[in-house]
Symmetry: C2
Subunit: 476 residues, 2 copies
């Protein structure tokens, strides 16, 4: 582990000279800055936090940190789920939430320039007001775009429209040295040397700090609707996915979840949208499918195609949600899963593996089979169409009890080992969209051969020879 | 420049022990192995060529080359246009054309595994026979897939379907050390550390040797047709592009070319498909547009939308090519552009810049304005919808004349400088799809800031500390 230098009053004064009252030191620091949405992956209090505002300011701060060998961790809204912005080594946290301006649309080339602290929800809304569409749609709408780029966030619509990576045209990045580089440009394709742009996407703040992002936008789909599809069992639900994914209906999203999860969410939200039984038979699991099309007639065709396919695959029924209010309620339930788990449980661990879509049934059935022997609840849901499954180990525990925390962490870790091993056996990967951060670094190490880890470490050293950026994340 | 060791008889014997009669030495070497399709970017005779067959064989050869510090350049079909596979430092050339097996389809997950020497034409045909579609469609159909991945080849359909990068799910790669790594896996998305997969795509054989490729396939479009669209002038043709690109017709391809180019091609192919005048007025340039759709009715709608838009943008006419033979002839003409230039001229230089699509008219008009003062012919065509324009400087010269070659190279270089400067001013990039290779390395250096070049060099050293792989390409 690298040894860092302590922050001296002189260095802190330099920060004040740059960012004034946006520099916060010591006990005045907001404790939220010590972790992301998964504090179980570690809590690390920074010594200084700075709510940064400009590229130049970040450059000046990084120069100082490089000179004095002080660790720097960048954070956005802190909604990450892998401990990616936890300042494990203390030092400085740079928070980008004040860099929340949408800098401008280039309608002729269909793109938008944003600062990294813009919230996903705000960008989606603003793009829509310009008659344009930003397809990536992670569940957490109050994440920052900078965070989305840093983790290559996926979300509901990646099945049809791809992940954040597919929409990043250009980035302004400050290197740990303080040097400012611009990667990419608003062109449709490029073969101009190693793609540093693609390398930066998904690098979780370990290679440089992203200070401006140019995103591709597309025309919004003309119309869409969702299908609520109850099944008797989880297995039947996920078995229907591969054929639907590749069908002519070309779904935008295929989500799955179990009845228990749904019941908990609806209790939490105080709504009741999904049927719990069909003709006297109890529902065990659901698919939630979104279809879009260029016209209502085409949408009707897709609905017919998908419905027939689902009923043939033993769906109990297919309910079409096309009224906006009903659609909103349906998806609000889906988007609130994590929030509802946080509300129900004190202790949560998670796994976000991705497997080839045809292997999803085997994986889901395997996880289901482990449940009975586990000392905690297991909730399982996610982007079935992508083979990307979120598995949560959850228990109530006594709030603040170290014994409970320790016991849970141990049991959850053993469970995680099983999940990652099974995913690997199915040619899957450690994370589909949450990233590696601090919480999953050991599993990444195990899943890749040492040569790949060595190359990743080598790349890290090229960008950040002093290893000051976001220490102990991903591979270092 | 790195100093390499000479090949000794002992080392050559080691190669024979591995690959037997597929090792060729000295004067028996096929002189084609000394360059790609642009010999003007340098000719370098290898000392040994090996038509490799397996990953393990390549690993064993690279171990030897690493130990003895011998340069190794990999080549596929040699159809590159940037001098990417020219063995500038001599040494060993590994040719992958015998690694031409399609290893198998995974229809449930919609992908195919291929060896790197499979030809694009063969893969496209074979996938179609399996009811599947491999969208990337570079003009050169007899390029290898390995070459396509190494340059992130784009082609005709990248406007709608993306470039080769978007279809690479996994790669087996041999590092210069002989270590074998597998990058990626057949999953739809991933956020599992730095994307070495994306870094390898477009790295032109400088970071590792690709020995197996897993490619995503999609369902083929149900129907398609092309529009032949004559315009009075080049400027009018390219001005019609941005609106068409973003229209509801969602074109698969928007190509442009000038009348002179077309006439030369048709003379070369002995066909006549395109109209040369409309109602007594001479045609100056063409757009060639492909539309596809899920049904004939939808295709008709797209044709209507696109045609109206084009006629409003001063197209002289819109001819619909939907009969297979007519379609084939039309696209055969487009695909033969480079071949026809090679046939007409002895000396050729080229530039493959990409600019934001809305800047294409300004760029094309600028290039056209330079023509009159130049001592060679300039042909200009390309993927207008992508803002990716191929500009060829061509002259007949006396075959084999060193004076003519020298004078042409100088004049062409001055022209290239102007083109790259203009593209940069429009926020464009040095190469849209041909790659950097040897021919464009100096322009890449000028187009990027030194910090980015330093990072690329650092990455190269991480993968290839002895700098033995494909020396003097891209950034080293």
């Amino acid at each position: 582990m690298t040894a860092y230098e302590a922050l001296t009053p002189d260095v802190i004064q330099e920060f004040f000279d740059i960012a004034g009252r946006r520099v916060v030191v010591g006990e005045a620091i907001n404790p939220d800055y010590a972790h992301d949405a998964m504090p179980i992956y570690g809590i690390g209090m920074p010594e200084v936090t700075i709510d940064v505002k400009t590229t130049e300011e970040i450059s000046a701060i990084l120069k100082i940190c490089s000179t004095h060998h002080i660790p720097v961790t960048v954070r956005g809204a802190g909604t990450g789920l892998a401990g990616g912005c936890t300042p494990v080594q203390g030092g400085v946290v740079l928070c980008t939430v004040l860099m929340n301006r949408i800098l401008g649309y280039d309608e002729a080339n269909r793109n938008v320039r944003v600062q990294p602290g813009v919230l996903l929800a705000d960008l989606q809304k603003d793009a829509a007001a310009h008659g344009l569409f930003y397809p990536p749609d992670p569940g957490e709408k109050y994440a920052t775009i900078g965070g989305n780029v840093s983790t290559n966030a996926g979300g509901m619509r990646s099945l049809k429209y791809g992940t954040t990576r597919d929409y990043v045209l250009a980035l302004t990045v400050v290197l740990p040295s303080g040097e400012i580089i611009r990667l990419g440009s608003p062109v449709s394709k490029s073969s101009a040397g190693y793609s540093l742009l693609q390398l930066m996407v998904g690098s979780e703040g370990t290679l440089g700090i992203i200070t401006e992002i140019t995103l591709k936008l597309i025309a919004p789909p003309k119309c869409h609707c969702s299908l609520i599809v109850p099944f008797r069992t989880l297995e039947e639900a996920v078995r229907a996915v591969p054929a639907l994914r590749h069908s002519e209906a070309v779904p935008q999203a295929i989500e799955f979840f179990e009845k228990e999860m749904l019941t908990a969410i609806e209790a939490y939200l105080g709504t009741s949208v999904f049927p719990k039984e069909i003709e006297g038979e109890t529902v065990g699991a659901y698919l939630l499918v979104t279809l879009d099309a260029a016209s209502n007639d085409l949408l009707d065709e897709s609905v017919m195609t998908a419905s027939q396919l689902l009923l043939d695959a033993s769906a109990m029924d297919v309910l079409v949600a096309d009224v906006p209010m009903y659609l909103d309620k349906t998806w609000a339930a889906r988007s609130a899963f994590f929030e509802s788990l946080e509300y129900q449980y004190n202790l949560i661990d998670q796994c976000d593996v991705v497997v080839p879509v045809a292997a999803l049934p085997e994986f889901a059935v395997y996880v289901d089979g482990l449940r009975a022997a586990l000392p905690f609840d297991v909730h399982m849901f996610g982007h079935a169409g992508d083979g990307n499954i979120h598995i949560y180990a959850c228990t109530r525990g006594r709030r603040g009890s170290r014994e409970d925390l320790f016991a849970f962490k141990q049991a959850a870790a053993a469970f995680m080992e099983q999940l990652y091993a099974k995913a690997a056996a199915l040619d899957g990967q450690v994370s589909g969209e949450y990233g590696i951060g601090f919480g999953k670094a050991s599993y990444l190490q195990k899943s890749l051969d040492p040569v790949q880890i060595r190359i990743m470490q080598g790349i890290k050293e090229v960008f950040d020879p002093g290893l000051i950026l976001n220490p102990n994340k991903i591979c270092y």
